[in-house]
């Protein structure tokens, strides 16, 4: 479980995160959604300590994190896996070496065991025959998947994904979402995902926090989100034609024009 307590962060006199608190439970996907520039990445980096928040703290399984010294932080970080928005693969290493890097650094497994583990996670993200390629030779979506593979190779307790499916086609996107959901439940990981993809929101959003200009505007689950009356949230999630149709159906449903036992999954098909 990760608890975010009153985080504030500004760059110069620009307040980017304004007093955000949240509780993110283990074994579920916790989503941070919001428009571009609303502070999702900055909040995530404050949570993992890449930015020092100006105020507030982050608790990992109850233990305060931001005030820890370097060595104690390192111990927590060994349990964190993170996928960066730009993938952040090591340019000079092949796909295989990238994914193997954490294993090389922190385990004393034999080369064969490491290779097996690498192939296992690469398989999970649907990447085959790319082991010898360099990041420069991969498409954006492939890089993302390698990034995920590298983040999960050490079986982290906390998984952070900054826009795991931006730049992916809808099918691969779904595969990635399902994968994240699966490993989250399977290993009881506390997963935090930044996204502005509504498909992921509906697909995996066990807990959703909507950021608006640096503050928390709304929180809830994917069961609740499309029924929310929050105007800013509505503007955000119903930005697409398709979802506006869905919203109309919701209105019809509310007026009793269509039977309200119709479930949400059908509606979104």
């Amino acid at each position: 479980m990760i608890e975010v307590k009153n985080i504030k962060k500004s760059f110069g006199d620009k307040i980017v995160i304004n007093d955000v608190s949240a509780t993110m439970k283990a074994g579920q996907c916790n989503l941070i959604i919001g428009a571009s520039g609303s502070g999702k990445t900055v909040l995530m980096k404050c949570m993992v300590g890449l930015f020092a928040p100006d105020e507030g703290d982050v608790l990992y399984s109850g233990q305060p994190f931001t005030t820890l010294d370097r060595e104690a932080k390192t111990l927590v970080r060994k349990e964190i896996g993170m996928l960066f928005q730009g993938s952040a693969l090591f340019d000079s290493l092949t796909v295989e070496e990238n994914v193997m890097f954490p294993l090389n650094m922190f385990t004393s497994l034999s080369h064969k065991q490491k290779l097996d583990r690498v192939n296992e996670v690469l398989n999970r993200v649907n990447l085959v025959d790319t082991n010898r390629k360099f990041p420069g030779e991969l498409s954006g979506g492939m890089k993302k998947r390698v990034g995920i593979a590298r983040a999960i190779v050490l079986n982290p307790k906390y998984l952070f994904c900054d826009e795991p499916n931006s730049g992916l086609d809808p099918q691969t996107s779904l595969v990635i979402d399902k994968l994240i959901k699966e490993i989250t439940m399977e290993y009881n990981i506390t997963t935090v995902v930044n996204t502005h993809d509504m498909n992921s929101v509906m697909e995996i959003g066990d807990y959703i926090m909507y950021m608006y200009k640096g503050h928390k505007e709304w929180e809830g689950s994917n069961k609740e989100i499309i029924f929310s009356k929050n105007q800013r949230l509505n503007d955000f999630i119903f930005a697409s034609e398709f979802l506006r149709d869905a919203k109309d159906m919701r209105m019809l449903e509310e007026r009793g024009k269509i039977p309200n036992d119709r479930n949400m999954d059908d509606m979104l098909k």
């Binding site: 980096k45 993992v48 890449l50 370097r70 390192t74 111990l75 970080r77 060994k78 964190i80 896996g81 993170m82 960066f84 928005q85 730009g86 952040a88 693969l89 090591f90 340019d91 890097f101 954490p102 090389n104 650094m105 922190f106």
Partner: protein, 245 residues
């Protein structure tokens, strides 16, 4: 005022570099990789400039020594001493600041901008220790070696130019090389090489590691790294000469 902040940050960077490696084998691998990048990667350019610098010194020294009273072997002495004292350590290191220094700054700058440094930190790796320390250690090992190679090649280039242009015979040159030779000069040159090696690796590492922004800033940082390294090399060259000669 900014300069004091920078110096403080630079010292902090050096201090935080010293922590126990997370994994000795990986650090060793990175060290060897940097040795080959800095050493082998700069060997060609060092060889070329050394030979030409030696050759030019022979010809210019001969041009300035017009008196028939001075024996031609003196040319060899002068070439030997200028190459060992100044050209091999200082000039080679200035060139290396451009070659190896800009590479270090842009490599780290790129890693910073593309969040690779953040990725290392998240894994629980001390990115300064893992990325910067092997570079500095590799520079401290390889650059003095390159300077020694440069001394040899510079003197050889001088001899070649002397014999080819008929200024001084091979025998005279060899005789001059051994006259009044002070081994201390080589020690002094190596002291300079160590100091410069530290500058060439740590200053660009500082500018590269602390890049903020995008690709444009990487270019700016590496230019700045080279300029600052060169100035520091020349300044410490002066200080060391004043202190040790």
């Amino acid at each position: 005022m900014k300069i004091f902040g920078d110096i403080g940050q630079y010292l902090l960077m050096l201090k935080s570099m010293f922590s126990k490696p997370e994994n000795n084998k990986m650090y060793w691998k990175e060290f060897m990789h940097q040795c080959s990048e800095i050493g082998i990667g700069s060997l060609g350019i060092v060889a070329i400039i050394s030979v030409f610098i030696g050759a030019v010194s022979t010809i210019q020294t001969a041009y300035q020594l017009v008196s028939p009273l001075i024996p031609p072997s003196t040319i060899a002495q002068i070439v030997r001493d200028t190459v060992i004292l100044e050209f091999a350590p200082t000039l080679v290191c200035i060139v290396l600041a451009g070659v190896a220094g800009s590479r270090i700054a842009s490599e780290l700058g790129n890693m910073r901008v593309s969040e690779q440094i953040d990725a290392l930190e998240i894994m629980g790796i001390n990115s300064r220790a893992y990325l910067i320390r092997p570079k500095i250690m590799a520079a401290l090992l390889m650059i003095p070696l390159l300077v020694v190679i440069s001394m040899v090649l510079g003197i050889w280039g001088g001899r070649l130019a002397g014999t080819m242009s008929g200024i001084v015979s091979g025998a005279d040159f060899d005789k001059g090389l051994l006259e009044y030779f002070l081994p201390y000069n080589v020690v002094f040159a190596l002291v300079k090489a160590y100091v410069f090696a530290f500058i060439i690796s740590s200053v660009p590492a500082f500018y590269g590691y602390h890049v903020e922004g995008g690709a444009l800033e990487i270019g700016r940082a590496s230019t700045k790294a080279v300029v600052v390294s060169c100035i520091m090399i020349l300044f410490s060259d002066y200080v060391l000469s004043a202190l040790l000669l």
